[in-house]
Point group: C2
Chain length 85, copies 2
């Protein structure tokens, strides 16, 4: 069994990758926001958000339970929605 | 400019990668939880959590602002803490 410092080091690496991906997701949201503004679409799209969360549940293999993972994605989606505004 | 469907497709790809990384982070948290239980350490470690969030602020290059990104990581950390329990 690796020691605490090793696991924390791995978490730091994962967090670095998460920051990159989350900011890439925010960049996509910004582009989507521009398209929505140009075409007169509403920023808030509950059907699309439901589709995203359903997909998260379907591809989740744990150890996070679906409720935990969906909770994290609800936070991510809400933050991206602000970027789209 | 790519269209809405293309950006949504990229977001779906990113979400798949996020799910994998978040579950890997949860696996690390489970291992850390076991070590803490075996060695009598407290699961809740505010100093370590502060260190993680400070690091997130330092490596963030946007477009997410630090407050948004830290908010997302607070949700991730809280979910991982439950896994450690």
């Amino acid at each position: 069994m690796a020691d605490l410092a090793d696991w924390r080091c791995r978490i730091d690496e994962i967090d670095g990758e998460l920051v990159t991906l989350l900011n890439e997701r925010a960049s996509c949201a910004r582009e989507i926001g521009e398209i929505k503004h140009e075409t007169g679409l509403e920023v808030h799209d509950p059907n699309r958000e439901k589709q995203i969360l359903d997909r998260i549940r379907n591809i989740n293999t744990g150890p996070f339970g679906n409720d935990e993972l969906v909770g994290i994605f609800e936070t991510i989606i809400a933050s991206c929605r602000k970027i789209e505004m």
